[in-house]
Every structure is written in C-alpha cells, then in structure tokens.
C-alpha cells in the first residue's frame, strides 16, 4: 500500500490532538502518568480489537504476550548491556511468534472460541509460573528493574513527558494501522470469515492464514506496548502483566465498542478514569471491575462508540 492511499480519518487526528495538548494543560507528574496509562491501554485495546474483535480469537493471554516482550527486551539488555531500543524488536518478534503459534495451533486443531480461551488462559498461567520459577533471571515475584530507556527528546521535555509523547505517537500509528487494516484485503477477508466461515473458505479465503496474520499483528502491537510499559514503569513483574490486565482490556473493548475505530480510545479513557477514582477502595476495586464486566456484558455489548455513531447518523438524517 502506498502512503498516498493511507486512510487517516479526521476524528482520530482530533482525538490525538486533544491528547497531545493534555500535558500542556497539566504537567502534574501524577496526571501525566495517568495520561500515559490511558494511551498505552488504548494501544492494547486496538490489539484486542484486531485479535478478539476482527478475527474472533478469544485470547486471554494479552498481558502475557505484552509481558513476554517486556521481559525479553529487559533481560537481553541487562545481561548483554545492549541499548534497549535494539532489544525491543527481539521482544516483539518473540511475542508475535508466540501469538501466531497459539493462533495457528488452535485453528489447525479446530478449537472453538471457548477452547481458545482455555488454552490461552492456561498459557497465561504458564507464563506467570515460568516467570516466578526462573527467579535467577526474572527476580520472581519482586519484579525486575528494567534498564533505562532513552525516550526521544527527553533532554528537552523531561523524561515523563517525553515517554508520554512517544507512546502517544505509537498509539496514533496503531489506530491508523487499525483503520487501514479494516479496509484492507486482510480486514475484508476477516469480515467474510466472521459472517460465514464455510462460505469464505469456499470462495478461496485462507482462513488459517488470515487469522494467524491478525493474531501476529495484534501480538506485535501488544509486545511493543508491553515493552514501553515496562520501561515507562521502571520495572516488570508478574503483577504488572497479570490476568486482571486482560480483564481491563476486555472491559475497555466492550465498553468502547468492539470492532469500532474510536471504541478503544473511549473505552480506555472511561475505564482508566473509573479505576483511578476507585483506587482507594483497595480489594473492592476488583469487585467494582466485576460488576462493570457483568453489567456491560449483559446489557451493553455494542458499546458507547456505536451508540454515538447511531445518534450522529440520526441527527444528520434529521438535518437533511
């Protein structure tokens, strides 16, 4: 695809322009940290939107995939003294390969969504136990202090703001990637597979190939986001990449609107806001997440984004 045919929807640019102004409005370190987490989660949700939404593979190991790359990059950089920017690609490759393998194996074995969920859930548990077990390499439960990553323009803007803008640009690129993926051959093939898998196969769509590609792209995004998360956070631990992160991602996806372009942004803003305001509740935050999940799944599966879209269509229809 040439750059000319790249599809960049205007509302996305407006969204990101607003995000770009945020640190100028408040440079409070706590606020900037929240902004960064929102934007980072949005990239995770785009990945989930590709894997769970577009290709309907219920991966319950998204945080593990992010974690694999964060650990790989950090460990390689620490043990060989290499610049983290050079080890991040290795982390991405590793995670994408694992994601592709999980996807390939489940399709070839003809696992339904529920078994994909169980296999990936099991994979998450294995990931956690391997990290805990390889204590000499990963520092186990305490977590590994990540090497220092140089963020572009950190000398001018300061580390915190520089990391925010780097991650913001990453998420902008991811959202544009998603917008174009949906319109590409891959996106159309995935849509065909979703609506009628057998017919899609009959007309010559390679179901395995397209699903595996979608899973690898999604895993790659999770991997880069995970690596950024690790370096931004200053440490990686099993807690940072635990299953509750997967739940948060799925909540954001469902709340914002699955298979929509703006859903991931809306969802991550809303859920991070909720999580931050309920932080003082301690363990009850978990209860709150649970209530949200149950209510959303039962009553609100189409998401905010599609409701806004429908309202907009109605309004413009009345205007004419």
């Amino acid at each position: 695809m040439s750059l000319r045919s790249l599809y960049v929807p205007k509302p996305i640019l407006i969204f990101f322009a607003v995000f770009a102004i945020l640190p100028l409005i408040s440079s409070n370190p706590y606020h900037v940290r929240i902004f960064t987490i929102v934007v980072l989660y949005a990239s995770f949700v785009y990945a989930a939107n590709i894997i769970i939404g577009e290709s309907r593979q219920l991966f319950l190991c998204m945080s593990a995939l992010a974690g694999i790359s964060a650990y790989t990059s950090s460990i390689l950089s620490l043990s060989f003294g290499i610049n983290p920017w050079l080890t991040i690609p290795a982390g991405i490759l590793f995670s994408a390969a694992v994601g592709a393998l999980l996807s390939y194996v489940s399709i070839v074995r003809g696992l339904g969504e529920i078994f994909v969920a169980i296999v990936t859930l099991t994979f998450s548990l294995i990931f956690e136990n391997v990290i805990l077990g390889l204590r000499w390499l990963t520092m186990g439960e305490t977590g590994l202090v990540t090497p220092v990553l140089w963020w572009p323009f950190q000398e001018i803007a300061g580390k915190r703001v520089a990391s925010y803008y780097t991650i913001l640009i990453f998420t902008l690129l991811v959202s544009i990637l998603y917008a174009n993926l949906v319109r590409s051959r891959l996106g159309i093939a995935l849509r065909a597979i979703r609506s009628d898998r057998v017919s899609a196969e009959v007309v010559g769509i390679d179901v395995t190939r397209y699903n595996v590609i979608a899973a690898s792209i999604g895993s790659g995004i999770l991997a880069l986001g995970g690596a950024f998360y690790g370096y931004f956070n200053g440490m990686v631990s099993p807690g940072v990449f635990s299953l509750s992160v997967d739940i948060a991602i799925i909540l954001m996806l469902v709340l914002g609107g699955i298979r929509t372009l703006y859903g991931p942004l809306i969802g991550s803003v809303a859920i991070v806001f909720v999580l931050e305001t309920t932080r003082g509740l301690g363990q009850l935050t978990l209860t709150f997440l649970g209530i949200l999940l149950v209510v959303l799944i039962l009553t609100f599966r189409e998401g905010i984004s599609s409701i806004i879209q429908r309202a907009a269509v109605k309004l413009s229809g009345q205007g004419q």
């Binding site: 136990n129 978990l286 649970g290």
Partner: protein, 297 residues
C-alpha cells in the same frame, strides 16, 4: 544395602502415590461441580472457586457465633448449593436466551465478573482469614506406612461425596433425568423431562459439590479468600483433561492428576509440577479436545 535403599525409595513412592490419590480425590470433587454445570448449563462457571471460599467463610462465621461445627458446616455447604441455584435463577437468565457459542462466551464473562466481585468482597471483608478443620489425630499407620490423618479424612470425605453423587446420578429417577439432559437436551424434552428444572437442580448440585470440596480442602489444608481463581483453574485443568462435559471423566482425571502432581513434586519440586500439569492440559486440548475419559456422562 542397595536393596534396602531401593526398598525405602519404593516405600516412599507408595506413600507419595497414595498421598497423590487422596489429593486427587479432592481435585475430582472440586472439578465435578464445574463439569456438571458446564455439561447441562452450558456455562463455564469461572466463579466456581469462589463458592469454595464462601462456604469456608460462612462455616467459620457460623461456628464463631456459637453454632455446632457440624451443623454450621452442613448449613454452609447447603448455602453454597443455594448460591448456585441463585446464580442460575438471576444473572444467568439473560445468558440462556443467547444461542450457541455466544451463550458460552457471555456466560464465561458473566461468571468471570462474578468471580471478581466475590473475590473482591471476600478479601476486603475477611483479610487474613482462613477456614481449617483440625483433626485430633496427627498420623495414621496402615500396614507399616504412615499417613497424615488430615489427608486421609479429606480423601474419605471426597470419596464419599463423589460416591453419593454417582449413586444419585445413576440410581435415582431425577439423576437419570439429569444424565439424559446432559446427553441430549432436545431428546429429553421429547421424553417429557423439564430441562430447565434439571439445569437449576444441576446448579444447586454444583454449588453443593463446591461446598463439599471446601470441607475437604479445609480438612486437608485451609481455604483462604483471594485464592478463588486459583481453585477455579485447578477445577478447569481437571475438567479439561477429563472431558469438560464428563462427570466420570473429571473423577478419573482428578485422581490421575493428583498422582502426577504428587510424583512430580516429590521428584522435581512444586514449581515444575504446576507447569507439567498446565502442559498436560495444553496437550490434551490439542490432541483430544473432548477429554481423555469422555465416554458417557
């Protein structure tokens, strides 16, 4: 000399295997409720482990307010069954209206949400709490081998519970109706079985089994808030290996995995053991998604 050493190792091994079987019975009991509910309800109840914890909490609360321990624990187990029934009658109602894969998926997320709700509430209200039943005797010697009495009693409780469940499913009319509904819902409807009522009953039974599993675990070790999802994943492991819809499969798989668990942790240590168990799940799902022992119900 060598002969004696070998004999000692073999003796140790026998103890390890029997320990494994006792632990495996606990696993079977834990899994059987999950499997029952998935088989007939079509819901993979990820809140299953929370039932175990809630039973423990209710028992302790009742005992500490002066109830006879035996009555308190029985009441708690019964309440766990009622909790299952409530689950079926309330939040899962809208889920049943969905079709096929969607029903399973939405059910999965609803019960996961429920697990989070209960896990949050229980660890918030009862921090540092544990449910544990003390057995007055420390060890029991049988034919020169010594066992922890708690493990033996726990295994016995599990075995009796499973046996009673089997008798109920195999001998009584209601049990047979449940099995029929597990195998073929349309067919059972044709024969006049009220499948919806059977499903409610199965949720009650599933809750009851979780409650009994709580007792078995409380006798062998302890039940603590915050470990619900871990318990659920153990039940899931056993269920998947045995065949996620098969009650007998779950029983056999539980004992098998218990023995594997005991031998592996005896020889390799606990950390590798869990990975081996999880590895078994992956291999089973990939090569025989219907489970190893999934004949019949």
């Amino acid at each position: 000399m060598i002969h004696e050493t070998l004999q000692a190792i073999a003796g140790g091994m026998v103890e390890v295997v029997i320990d494994g079987i006792l632990f495996g019975l606990q696993l079977s009991l834990l899994a059987v409720g999950l499997v029952l509910i998935f088989g007939l309800g079509g819901i993979l109840n990820l809140a299953h482990g929370e039932f175990v914890i809630i039973t423990g909490i209710i028992s302790v609360v009742l005992i500490s307010s002066g109830w006879n321990p035996f009555i308190a624990i029985s009441a708690a187990i019964f309440l766990s069954g009622l909790l299952g029934l409530a689950l079926d009658r309330t939040v899962l109602r809208p889920v049943y209206k969905l079709k096929g894969e969607m029903e399973v998926l939405v059910g999965l997320f609803v019960t996961l949400g429920l697990a989070f709700i209960l896990e949050g509430i229980t660890s918030y209200l009862f921090p540092g709490f544990y449910f544990s039943v003390r057995i007055p005797v420390e060890t029991i010697n049988i034919m020169g081998l010594s066992f922890r009495a708690s493990a033996l009693v726990s295994g016995l409780i599990s075995f009796v519970s499973l046996y009673l469940l089997l008798i109920f499913l195999g001998r009584t009319m209601t049990g047979k109706a449940i099995r029929a509904a597990l195998q073929n819902q349309t067919g059972s409807r044709v024969c006049g079985i009220d499948v919806e009522r059977m499903r409610t009953l199965v949720f009650f039974l599933g809750g009851l089994m979780a409650g009994l599993a709580s007792l078995a675990k409380g006798v062998a070790s302890s039940v603590e808030p915050g470990s619900g999802l871990e318990l659920t994943s153990y039940a899931l492991i056993v269920g998947v290996v045995g065949g996620v819809r098969s009650v007998y499969g779950a029983m056999v798989a539980g004992v098998l995995l218990g023995v594997v668990n005991a031998i592996a942790s005896y020889l390799l240590g606990t950390y590798l053991t869990l990975i081996i168990l999880l590895g078994i799940v992956v291999v089973v799902i990939l090569y025989k998604p219907s489970g190893l022992f999934a004949g019949g119900v």
